[in-house]
């Protein structure tokens, strides 16, 4: 909400000049015939994505040099709104001169960025992002066809939204690539859930195997997990260089236990005592408090709350962080 959203009807005003020009005069519109491909000494690939009943359909033609895998020419046809036409046109342009493997790496974001007038202003309003997502999907279809791979055998090709024919793989990828956080965003980017809405959550028009709410939750969890793994890997790789403060509680506890095992526990055992770590907590004022309980001869020993305690604290502070406090309970 806010000032800019109160007066509607402005989607056309948010199209970049490039998008408008391509809507009026698409550059790569048309077909490549078998004969034309032959003349170029290339293999003709024709790939379809979407259907008229879904509101968007695009057909991509490639002339591919089989020796080099290079796309010599690309053309498109499209049933769709102006931005679908402009996106398909841009996508075809981006394919030209690339190898098939390179072309598969073109994403909807590349297509959208290529249509911007200046790098910081999106080429289309958010709800029109789906047009470029489809341009991305048809490239994968064309590549699958060229390589003779049955795209339906991929786990990626499970269709979550039948109306807009959006696959599980596309949804997961779009969530990850664009850091999407809501189902509404998924709908904006992929059109999944924009029509009969059955695929959004259980209880809709028809029962589905996959629902957007679940996919979003699982993918977000997966992303979070990946982030943690990456963090942990980074830390293992350069362990020691990382500040104690940056570690998670579990990692802090492990470090503290290791220092105590290596440097302190043996000395306490020599005197007939021991200690256990009861808890470890970060405080609001920046300290890490380690709660310990003395065992054996240590418990009740006068030194346990003075000299011994200071010694333990000093070792931990020296080895790990000056912000550690040790608190016997």
């Amino acid at each position: 909400m806010g000032k800019n959203n109160l007066i509607g009807g402005s989607i056309w005003e948010e199209y970049s000049q490039k998008v408008q020009d391509l809507m009026n005069n698409p550059q790569n519109m048309g077909e490549i015939t078998e004969e034309q491909a032959k003349e170029m000494g290339a293999k003709l690939i024709v790939a379809d994505f979407g259907a008229e009943s879904c509101g968007d359909a695009v057909r991509l033609y490639w002339a591919v040099d089989e020796k080099t895998d290079k796309i010599l020419d690309a053309k498109f046809k499209s049933f769709g709104c102006g931005t679908a036409i402009a996106s398909s046109d841009t996508m075809a342009e981006l394919c030209k001169g690339k190898t098939v493997d390179e072309a598969v790496k073109i994403t909807n974001i590349d297509v959208e960025k290529a249509m911007r007038d200046n790098p910081d202003t999106p080429a289309v309003p958010p709800q029109k992002m789906h047009c470029s997502v489809m341009a991305y999907d048809v490239i994968k279809e064309a590549a699958a066809s060229y390589k003779g791979v049955d795209s339906s055998s991929f786990e990626d090709q499970i269709i979550v939204c039948e109306c807009a024919r959006v696959s599980l793989g596309t949804i997961k990828e779009v969530i990850k690539l664009n850091d999407l956080k809501t189902v509404e965003q998924i709908t904006d980017f992929t059109k999944a859930g924009a029509f009969c809405k059955s695929c959004i959550k259980p209880g809709g028009h028809e029962e589905r195997e996959y629902y957007l709410v679940d996919i979003l939750k699982e993918t977000r969890e997966e992303m979070e997990q990946n982030k943690l793994t990456a963090l942990a890997d980074a830390k293992t790789a350069e362990s020691g260089e990382f500040g104690f403060e940056d570690l998670t509680m579990v990692q802090k506890l492990k470090k503290v236990e290791k220092i105590i095992d290596d440097n302190i526990r043996e000395m306490l055992i020599m005197d007939g005592g021991n200690l256990e770590i009861v808890d470890i907590r970060d405080t609001d004022d920046g300290y890490t408090d380690i709660y310990i309980r003395y065992l054996g001869a240590c418990s009740g020993c006068a030194s346990s709350s003075t000299g011994t305690l200071y010694a333990i604290e000093a070792i931990l502070r020296e080895k790990l962080s000056q912000n550690i406090r040790v608190l016997p309970i």
Binding site: N24, S53, A57, G82, I85, Q127, A194
Partner: protein, 396 residues
Amino acid sequence: MRVYLDNNATTIVDPYVFETMAPYFCEMYGNPNSLHEFGSETHPALRCAMDQLYTGINANDNDDIVVTSCATESINWVIKGIYFDHIFNGDKNHIITTEVEHPAVIQACRFLETLGVKVTYLPVNSDGIIELDTLRESITQETALVSIMWANNETGMIFPIEEIGKICKEKDVLFHTDATQAIGKVPVDVQKTNIDYLSFSAHKFHGPKGVGALYIKEDKIITSLLSGGEQMSGLRSGTLNVPGIVGMGKAMELAVENLDFEKSNVMKLRDRLEDELLKIPDTFVVGTKKQRTPNTILISIKGIEGEAMLWDLNKAGIAASTGSACASEALESNPVMEAIGAEADLAHTALRLSLSRFTTNEEIDYTIDIINKAVKRLRAISSTYSYAPDWHNSKL
């Protein structure tokens, strides 16, 4: 050339209407409820406007025509007012409407659903009309209100209001009709038909924006939603929109005067446009001409997405409308198109052309030419439509 064929969205203010309104901005600007000449000098024009409104829909003097800010306000008032008066107190708990109502009706009903009210949305056939038997069967002891539009904004289809009124009377259920698309297009007579509430908006019949009305039958008063001063007998508080009311009155008078013109000339232009467009292969129009308001065409042009068509038309200066999801801010397909469901494609290929008494012959000629050009260009781009090559004898 600029051609305005989006008259179901809004209309040009008739210059006569504008002229009638003009003195009430800078000359006679007093508050009608004030006790001085500045206020009272507005009264003759306001009384005249109320006369024009009462005559326009043939209301009885004991009925109320309460001026509101728009049809959306009138509709919300009826639906939520009925909730306060008949549902909140536990008497009833059910409202019946259709799947093809204006969002004002649908969303007000959806809101009441969150408060526990049961709502039946009657389906429509491929012509976009409800079945009377289904309506009859849906009315129960719990039903507080039936709300069905007089004419549909997208298709122009006219609903059998007289029969619906009879059924509601038979079953002793309150009946509201949203007549926003009917005023000025078909005769609207609240005495000939059993109607308890009727909503409309001035800007759909060449009046100004920001003013509408709710007709309330005698003894069918509902709780006011706008509490405040004593304007409109306390039914709808808020300082009277004097120029708006004066303009709406004049617009109503002209709309009724022009009903015959609408039925002859506007319909003739509409029919010519429709016949010419249907010559384009693979097109269809929703509903028969007779069943529709005289000014509306909802046509599906296979292979061409609605927003792309609007883009080409707009470049040529022609204003039209589409139900296509791609042209909606929320990317949602139009529920009316979905409800009709004649062809799945309709939701994406629908083009709505709506004329008015200001539409000219030349404008229709130009529109036919431009649409043919746009169809040619866009079908050449289309991946779901291909022309037969010239050498194909089969034309397939």
